[in-house]
Symmetry: C2
């Protein structure tokens, strides 16, 4: 998940400190920048993420400290004792290599050329293994499509699973998809991304024509038994599908309980044991219901955009 996400209270507001901090501090004469991790963990793992250097400014090293270590540094500084910090960083930008989106389909029974997309991203930030960001989303998208494929009656349209490459480092997979499928976007009935971890589903963000609202309301009713009823209008659903926001394709983002998400996200601690199976089952059900309904609407969802207030 990238900084564009808008349902993680505090994250979006804090991330610019990391992304732009190095160049801003360098302009003031800093030779290095150390920030408190933009994460909620009490563990001694630094939460890390992208940094952007301005062109004409010296590229000073920037590092994140875990919260406990930042606490320690604060205590030392507040005592007035001289504090000396040594940076030992081995992060670097490697040459680009070719990767690929992974695409699979459950063909629709009447309109196989029209598609509904369930997606996540297969790359992960370094340090951890990416279990919650975003193997969880990929696993749920695949499983939701498998469930639909195993039903006696398939929906009208095709359900396509897209596992995007390179979310973390520039959305190359998402941009490539938008480019390569440009001619086909008119036959995209809806695109969903799941990229908020392993928590229980609370609903969807949606962006289509405002006249889609009654259908969205009906979806919320269907999902009431698992509590995924919050339907949030606006936005672009997810980072990988944001390149589609200039089209009129209805965009959706799975919303989940993210109260522990930033304990693990972009740290060494994003590992398989953090997966919550019961919540994943519910979130998968929400994706399957969404995909079946949207793929089976005779007229499709009203296409268009709501501008987020």
């Amino acid at each position: 998940m990238t900084r564009g996400s808008d349902d993680m209270s505090g994250y979006g507001g804090s991330v610019p400190v990391r992304v732009t901090g190095a160049s801003r501090a360098a302009k003031g004469g800093a030779i290095g920048v150390l920030i408190r991790s933009i994460g909620t963990s009490k563990n001694r793992y630094a939460h890390t993420g992208s940094v952007r250097y301005e062109e004409a400014v010296p590229k000073v090293p920037v590092a994140a400290l875990s919260n406990p270590d930042a606490d320690l540094l604060e205590r030392l500084v507040s005592r007035g004792s001289p504090v000396r910090v040594r940076f030992r960083l081995d992060c670097r930008t490697l040459e680009n290599v070719e990767t690929a989106n992974i695409v699979g389909e459950v063909l629709g029974r009447e309109k196989p050329d029209e598609v509904v997309v369930l997606s996540g991203h297969i790359d992960s930030w370094d340090l951890g293994t990416g279990a919650i960001d975003d193997a969880a989303g990929c696993g749920m998208a695949i499983e939701a499509a498998r469930l639909i494929g195993s039903l006696p009656r398939r929906p009208l349209r095709t359900v396509r699973v897209v596992l995007f490459a390179n979310e973390e480092n520039g959305l190359a997979g998402g941009h490539a998809y938008a480019r390569q499928h440009a001619a086909e976007l008119g036959r995209h009935a809806g695109v969903m991304e799941a990229d908020s971890g392993t928590g229980r589903p609370i609903g969807f963000a949606w962006n289509a024509d405002p006249s889609a609202r009654p259908i969205i309301g009906a979806l919320a009713k269907l999902l009431a038994p698992i509590g995924a009823t919050k339907m949030e209008a606006g936005g672009y659903g997810g980072a990988d599908i944001s390149p589609l926001s200039t089209s009129d394709v209805p965009l959706f983002g799975l919303r989940q309980d993210t109260s522990t998400y930033f304990d693990y996200h972009h740290t060494q601690n994003d590992t398989f044991d953090k997966i919550e199976p019961e919540s994943m089952r519910k979130a998968t059900a929400a994706l399957a219901v969404w995909a079946y309904v949207v793929a089976d609407l005779p007229e499709g969802l009203p296409r268009g955009r709501i501008e987020k207030k």
Copy 2:
């Protein structure tokens, strides 16, 4: 806290795997040993501790893996895929250096030569900073003595705070205390160690003459308002004071809620932010009440030993 502790369910039973595992495996031809951490954390920190090599057996390297990493290795092995592990260890035994116990006293009003000891240990296992093992115990012992010293009426006997050196690596501080104070042990009315972290107090372990039971029961009543009523007969109170178990000095160990203790103990994660202030306040109160009562008993506690069943 060392492996001798007996109120941490599972810990005492599992530790021999780590302590003796290397030599046992080497006898069977192993060239290295990797164990799952003997700890409860879901984080990717290895829980570490002492290893003992047998004399005539090759000293093979032994390392601990965090639980998530052990899970991963298990999954790989269970798939039947070839698994290759590279050991990179930089642990080593350094030369001994001289350290010292730290001792302070609040003098008794009538029998200043008789002492009641409140103790913890100032050294810590490496990796973390030792906030819960055992800065917590040291802090509580000091604060309990300070509280007693600030009262308008001091107890009959002296309250002595002893912060032992070298608990982790052989109990040198505890052995030195027992040796240097051998002539004075008859004037030790009671010795308490606090070395179970930062959790709320649940009571004491005690070892004295069985006829002390009514006094112990009265202590439990005094501590009922903070829930520290569990009085457990037997044992030797704590690792640092265990060298006193061959004497007849009444020995005590503070018992605390240790349900999260092994999430942090002997890992990089044993840092100040893990301290629970409210629980520490209660545990400090329990120590202060214990010390005042034992230091103020006109006849002192009945001296002797209960053999633990």
